[in-house]
Point group: C2
Chain length 351, copies 2
């Protein structure tokens, strides 16, 4: 068995017994039973992931994988390809939305060049380049199988290091001009939805550009004739290096009993591929928002992830993950810090 | 003109011109235009409220008004009336959900005894008692007009003090066993919905108790024969002292150009009364969650407030307001801290 197959096979679901004990603990807190709703669910899920009904406060990191896409040459984005590298520099300088939101959430940001066209040289960016961008998925495979596996390994390695540093929650972030085309193609294949249904406006293209994007995805799916039951092959043919990297992040985190906070469309595509490779990883996914990108709804349905909020966001970078982390923290604090009916001397209706 | 009427007349809407300038400022930040969706709306609203397109970071407080309700004697709650006072003590000790969530949000908590049955004596609780609870609204007016106005004055005075201390955002919190009955009656009257539609399970009563609660509200509405166009008279007949106090908080905050973060059903009832008294106050309301309590949907519709999240919460205390404050802070930080395309050297699609 390959190392990747071993990791997938080694993932076990979060502990349902711990979740149930955590709920009983919450039921003694000074509030009507279940009156904090999904905040209680989040606390139980996190406890179950950590196998600890009194887990330590989350230690948080957002991994932003950046890579370029050969398909960008087909005019599928509102932005030129050089923006991928420019935005990685912006992440390194601390001026992007994800920096602001991660600081707000108390999460560190790990920026990884996993395959930008020209190398981004910056001490604050991890260089883990698998290739100088992917090939154009509309004329051939975006990556070889070996490249896809190497990119997954990059994600695994980064999670492993964060785990060793005490991180317990990772958020999925990405940057890659053209990557909604890749994500829409993968989503269509893996969910069975039509390209028309799961293709959106990305960074802000117009109707005509979107129509071309849909046609391009239709042609690519016909060209590759992939089997939806083979997620790794699909990832190689249609994916991006950053998407593959995030697949590794999800698998590595689940194998290390860390929570994985979803972000928008691209990140959720990676999560679905990971769950198809290791179904037990699903319980480690903490939803964040539902983006305006058309395919996100189908992905979240497939992941059985009910979004925590819907803010009409469509930025990626891990921006939604950072916001969701503030809610996850709140949930864990409820579990750790609230008084019980007994300790506070409050009469309990259930008593 | 009375002082209250003067305050209402003096409220002007947030500055739409500042909101528009703030949006233009956001459009120069390194992200596709409008790609942070409602986070951008929140930033623009806050700037418009503060009349400053670069407002200082919010200084936040949650005002939790506690009072008892004569109608509690009718068995409309799952909890005994003594829980109101016990929970105020719990707020003062820092062990309740609102304490945990307010600490998380960086908001101070101001606890006010505005009319608990027996006085709560605690140095951390402000005593501003208007009465020893309300009378039973099912047999007569809950309050006199003078009491309702005195309770509004308590809210005004507390906001005034917080304003002087530099607070720019107030969250609406409340505690009062029996107060969903009062809020459902007010909601039915003010929205035109039937008591059946807007009466829920409060802290967790059963179907039979809820059916009695609906009947009681129907009888009360028939008894008082109120005019929905007279919000102050409705508040006196059906309201709670804590609801009246929060009406004062909303009006005072709007008159001082402070943002008001909504909470659940009870707090939103107070907000609707305030908006009926001073329509320009509406622009100062920042939505938080939609609670599971049946009447909340109708109230939010009436307030034209689209909730930021829906967590199946039904606790009150300001718990939803505290969570929403973390999102409002994130929005303001995006405005203040993000780089522009120019400063970060990123190519802009719009350029």
């Amino acid at each position: 068995m390959s190392r990747l197959a071993e990791i997938c096979a080694g993932i076990t679901p979060p502990d349902a017994e711990v979740a149930a004990r955590t709920q009983r603990r919450l039921d003694f807190k000074t509030k009507p039973r279940r009156s904090l709703g999904r905040l209680e669910d989040l606390a139980c899920q996190y406890a179950a992931i950590r196998r600890d009904e009194q887990p330590a406060l989350p230690e948080k990191a957002i991994i932003v994988m950046g890579a370029d896409h050969g398909v960008a040459a087909r005019g599928v984005s509102a932005y030129p390809q050089e923006v991928t590298a420019q935005m990685l520099e912006n992440f390194a300088a601390g001026g992007a939305a994800i920096n602001v939101l991660a600081r707000h959430a108390g999460a560190r940001v790990v920026v990884v060049d996993i395959g930008v066209l020209r190398p981004v040289v910056n001490a604050r960016i991890e260089s883990a380049r698998v290739a100088a961008g992917t090939a154009d998925l509309s004329v051939g495979p975006a990556m070889s199988s070996a490249q896809a596996e190497a990119a997954i390994d990059v994600g695994l390695a980064h999670v492993e290091r964060l785990h060793a540093q005490g991180v317990s929650v990772v958020g999925l972030g990405e940057m890659g001009i053209g990557n909604t085309t890749s994500a829409s193609a993968l989503t269509a294949l893996l969910t069975g939805c039509s390209p028309e249904e799961v293709t959106g406006f990305g960074t802000g293209i117009d109707d005509a550009a979107r129509a071309r994007k849909v046609q391009l995805i239709q042609r690519a799916l016909a060209l590759h004739a992939l089997d939806p039951q083979q997620p790794l092959a699909a990832l190689a043919s249609l994916g991006g290096l950053e998407i593959a990297g995030l697949v590794g992040v999800v698998l590595g985190a689940a194998s290390r009993r860390m929570a994985v906070v979803l972000d928008g469309f691209i990140a959720s595509t990676a999560a679905l591929i990971a769950v198809r490779m290791a179904p037990a990883a699903q319980g480690y996914l903490v939803p964040s928002h539902r983006s305006v990108e058309a395919g996100h709804r189908a992905l979240l349905r497939e992941l059985q992830a009910v979004p925590l909020f819907e803010f009409d966001m469509r930025l990626g970078e891990g921006s939604g993950a950072a916001l969701a982390m503030t809610l996850l923290d709140a949930a864990v604090k409820i579990l750790l810090e609230m008084a019980t009916f007994e300790s506070a001397g409050v009469t309990d209706a259930g008593a």
